[in-house]
Symmetry: C2
Subunit: 272 residues, 2 copies
């Protein structure tokens, strides 16, 4: 569950990005994240923990500086003891926007899970600080996080692996590189485990800007595929054997390109 | 449009198969096609026109003989003049089951389209002769046939190429090797051109046995993905530019494993 908001404050944006958003000369998604976080006065803290590359934090600092951000930090958290570091927590508390890079989402959950850094991210977001994360940094936003699974279209009984995520948002499960890596089967497998979940599949260079009303707008060059299983009439998940193709009747699916909107609470898609 | 049925006769089965059904020791789908066509007394005629391999017809004759069929034919139709051959038409008329192999569906439409052979297939099916076709032979059953397109999940304005098929069945558009080759994007592109169409994506070793009531049962080891766009609330297809991701709101999707059923006229999925 997301950290409770405090009376008088408004939750910050939660912005999962499908990966690859930094490869463009005009990074529309990152620029919008900056604009919402104070523009040139934003204070952006990068957490590159998912990545195994030494320069990932600096690379993103540079991107944010090129967008015009005057103050950026990168926290070199590579093991659990780093995530207890009180100085890092203090730096984090100065942020108007927090950014988690791509890499391996299991590094994020195993290194950050349950630490002061994770707790601070959750509290700051509840108090109005924006969170954006790409690829692994997108996966981690949901309470139930996809860590692996089959590729393709058709779900199977063992088509997805889940782990607890950071839980900045509940009721959705996020997948990334969605169209590029053909990940519908694992998203369908995930939502059919428990149809209270809504599946949100993010293409590369595409983000869901989720506001404090639990409604998101699509930004970027690809699409977001929303899989809503709430009207499912029948699912063979409970009886299926390992590897079996599943039967799922009456899934609702929305494909949302830039400008499309989806209200998570009402499970309703819009345009305009 | 399918050929009209004659008073007192019942239309034969139309059985599109997603490909790869012949690679198994016990070819369940082909055995069921044979059983419906008279069992050991069936007369099965193979049309290998889609294939460029010389032995495709003989290979399928052998498979049907191993299932127990006493009488099999293969018609070596490789160009349009062959499809005018009156002897081939006479052989075809002896069939209780007609089988079209895989290969290139554009060979089927360009070589068979509008010929006496195509006309006879349509008439025989209307009079009760069963039709089965795998891969290219599955694609050709629909009036609007997919000949190519993008792979992936998300549909685009130019995501699919269509050509006129044999029209044994209307209102559905069929795709094959569906899960294996990640073909949801092209099927979604096809149904969003005109939402009267229902998309039917067949996995390999999986078939839709469509009966004379326009209802099909799933047979085989994979699944059939049914995409029903009839409740679409919004589609950006008409305004989208070439290559743009589309917005499509409120698609209905069913994933049907073996035993699943779908009534095409009522657009309703069932189990049991």
């Amino acid at each position: 569950m997301p950290s409770p908001t405090i009376k008088g404050t408004t939750r910050g944006y939660v912005i999962p990005i499908g990966g690859g958003e930094e490869k463009f000369e005009n990074p529309e998604i990152l620029a919008k994240f900056v604009a919402l976080s104070g523009g040139t006065d934003a204070v952006i803290t990068v957490i590159p923990t998912a990545s195994q590359l030494d320069d990932t934090g600096q690379r993103y600092q540079k991107i944010f500086e090129e967008i015009g951000v005057k103050k950026t930090y990168s926290l070199p958290i590579t093991e659990r003891s780093d995530a207890q570091n009180a100085d890092y927590v203090k730096t984090l508390e100065k942020s108007t926007g927090i950014f988690i890079t791509g890499g391996n989402q299991l590094r994020l959950s195993t290194i950050l899970g349950g630490t002061p850094i994770a707790k601070t991210i959750r509290q700051l977001n509840a108090q109005g600080v924006n969170y954006a994360g790409t690829s692994a940094g997108a996966a981690i936003v949901s309470q139930h996080m996809i860590t692996g699974g089959t590729t393709g279209i058709v779900p199977t009984e063992d088509g997805v692996n889940l782990a607890p995520g950071m839980g900045l948002i509940n009721t959705i499960v996020v997948d990334q590189h969605f169209n590029e890596r053909n990940r519908l089967s694992r998203l369908l497998s995930a939502v059919s485990y428990n149809p209270f979940l809504i599946g949100v599949g993010l293409d590369e260079d595409t983000a869901a800007f989720i506001d404090h009303n639990n409604e998101f707008t699509v930004v970027g060059s690809g699409a977001i595929t929303v899989v809503d299983p709430s009207d499912i009439e029948y699912s063979s998940m409970a009886e299926a054997r390992r590897g079996d193709a599943l039967t799922l009747l009456n899934l609702k699916v929305h494909i949302l390109a830039a400008g499309g909107r989806f209200n998570i609470g009402e499970r309703k898609a819009y345009v305009n």
